[in-house]
Amino acid sequence: MNRRKFVERLIAVVASVSAVTAGFRRARAGVPEGYDPGAHRYSMGIQVDNCIGCGRCMEACKAENLVPKEPFFFRTWVERYVIRKDGTVGVRNISTDETSAQEAPVDRNILRSFFIPKLCNQCDEPPCVQVCPVGATILTEDGVVLVDDQRCIGCRYCIQACPYGARYLHPVTMTADKCTFCYHRITKGLLPACVEVCPTQARIFGDLKSKSNPLQRFKRMHKLSVLKPSLNTEPKVLYSNLDGEVR
């Protein structure tokens, strides 16, 4: 075997191995046969005024997506904002822990308070996708940012690059993990788990490419904003009546 032959064969072997593994990857993502990502474009609306901070979205998400139950790993979480009369702001995370969920702070100096559900913003200009050294995290055609846990090397650069703290390192797979809009559900026409269980319809999920759905109505009826717009990440999670204190 001369050198040219050797290089040719090497290229052929590498190409065929990567083709086979690419096939495996698609099968593993749990996407049904015949699903056309080009026909969809997913987005989520958050009706801030509807959220009552019950935390069922967090619990459903953890159960649905095998997120570790400890309070350091979240694909979605809820923050409670308290703005006092003197202008100071208090923020805390709604706990999934049963015992502390009951302790509501009694404070007579509260001017206004509200809950803010947070999740991956599925940015159209995602910094996490930009920085991943091996292309393990991608923006899909239907607008969702996904992580391939078989390719991720666990360098955590994406976690550093996310302005929203939406990513964590899964302690079992040792790869980056984040909200997928429940990709395995939405590609089958189901709602994300958090949307499904929300008792007040604070979360509204929809396809921007379909003409009429609750999300389109939500977009028509509200003034909307996104988190940290100055960073130009172009989020697809839209908030109605968002307070300026929220970051």
């Binding site: 590498v14 990567s18 570790p68 139950k69 400890e70 309070p71 350091f72 790993f73 979240f74 979480w77 923050e79 702001v89 208090g90 923020v91 805390r92 995370n93 947070k118 910094p127 996708v129 930009q130 920085v131 991943c132 050294p133 091996v134 292309g135 393990a136 390719r151 991720c152 090397i153 666990g154 360098c155 955590r156 650069y157 976690i159 550093q160 690059a161 996310c162 302005p163 929203y164 703290g165 939406a166 990513r167 964590y168 390192l169 302690p171 797979t173 040792m174 790869t175 960073l231 970051r247």
Partner: protein
């Protein structure tokens, strides 16, 4: 799940101040990621010092040229180790070479590293030592002779024409090498400086600050090694050489200090959204490592020492002592600089409403002991390299 990680995170959560996002309890880049830019900085700095001789004809530094080159090589060989150990899946690290994502600054790591190792350091060292390698492969006893023959790549030519060619090549490679060294460390700065999510990192000055702090630390390291090894070998220190190195160190520290001061003033004057939390960070979590160690002990005191040695006519012995104190302080200061960038950048919440906590483990893969081993390893490699390729002029073959 009850494991050490969860226990550690529970403890850290208790130490957080103010509000942090729930996923921010874990500090993702640990002490190992501090060690990495520290090591590559030393590589780039040592190489820049060596290139003073070849490109800028600074004759006084000739006697440490080879030592500086070998130092750069020893540190470069170990530099990727902390990163590799830190990965969640080190066994997949080859993906960076096979399927790099070209928009990722980190993906370029493999190429910058390979370029610098293969095209700059190894090549230049080979041309520098080629004649000696040929001679040793004929003179040394049997097992060593074979090693040298392989290292010489079976070259046997020691004619004046070939030696002249070697010299020409060394000069050419050094000229390519200087921008490459800038690339090697400037790029590490870019990895941090390009993260817009993090106001502590996101700065256009970051690559330049990294570069000059690299030059500072590299020159300081070679001065330290030269002094210690000369003492160990029982030779006398070449004072013009030491004074010249110290004066280049002085200039580099001044540039580094000015750049960092500019960055500081700029942030303070612009006073963006993040300024409150960053000031709080500096005055709380980073006060010792930034204000006391990095700025005062690592920069102002050595600057004072070097100004003193230039203003007053001090004896050689006193100068040596002062230089030695200065370079040790500079090493500690530059390590603190890396710490403040890497760890400091993760100690505030991206909500700008609170501070996180970092507790370094003593043992374990990401602990203090691993870091100390990684910091010591380059010296072991350097000892082997010096044994194999003596860099001293008094042992050189004319």
């Amino acid at each position: 799940m009850s494991n050490p990680l969860v226990e550690r995170l529970a403890e850290l959560m208790g130490q957080a101040m103010g509000f942090i996002y729930p996923n921010e309890v874990e500090i993702h880049w640990s002490i190992l990621v501090v060690v990495y830019p520290y090591l590559t900085g030393l590589v780039a700095g040592a190489f820049i010092l060596a290139s003073l001789v070849k490109v800028f004809n600074v004759k006084e530094v000739q006697s440490v040229y080879r030592l500086a080159m070998l130092t750069a090589l020893a540190f470069l060989l170990i530099a990727p180790l902390p990163l590799l150990i830190h990965l969640g899946h080190p066994e997949r690290s080859y993906e960076i070479f096979l399927s790099p994502n070209f928009t990722s600054a980190m993906a370029m790591f493999g190429f910058v590293y390979a370029w610098y190792l293969m095209m700059v350091l190894l090549l230049e060292i080979w041309f520098t030592y080629r004649k000696e390698l040929v001679v040793w492969s004929q003179e040394k006893p049997v097992p060593l002779r074979w090693i040298y023959r392989v290292l010489a790549l079976f070259s046997r030519d020691t004619s004046p024409a070939s030696v002249a060619f070697d010299k020409k090549m060394v000069k050419a490679i050094t000229i390519i090498g200087i921008p490459s060294a800038f690339l090697l460390h400037g790029y590490v700065g870019f990895i941090f400086g390009s993260i817009k999510a993090n106001p502590w990192w996101s700065s256009v000055l970051m690559p330049i600050v990294f570069l000059f702090s690299a030059i500072v630390s590299g020159i300081a390291l070679v001065i330290m090694l030269y002094m210690v090894i000369t003492l160990y070998r029982g030779r006398t220190i070449d004072m013009p050489c030491l004074d010249t190195m110290a004066s280049y160190l002085f200039y580099a520290v001044i540039v580094d200090f000015s750049l960092e001061f500019l960055d500081f003033i700029h942030r303070l004057y612009e006073s963006e959204e993040s300024i409150k939390i960053l000031s709080y960070l500096v005055m709380n979590k980073l006060f010792i490592s930034l204000v006391v160690i990095q700025v005062f002990l690592g920069m102002l005191v050595p600057l004072g020492i070097m100004v003193g040695t230039r203003l007053f006519r001090l004896g050689a012995e006193l100068r040596k002592l002062l230089y030695f104190v200065a370079v040790i302080l500079i090493q500690i200061g530059i390590f603190a600089t890396r710490w403040n960038v890497v760890i400091g950048g993760q100690m505030f919440s991206k909500s700008f409403r609170g501070l996180t906590a970092y507790k370094m483990d003593l043992t374990g893969l990401e602990g203090l002991l691993t870091s100390l081993v990684l910091l010591a390893l380059p010296f072991v490699v350097l000892a082997i390299l010096i044994r194999l390729l003596p860099p001293w002029e008094d042992q050189a073959i004319a």
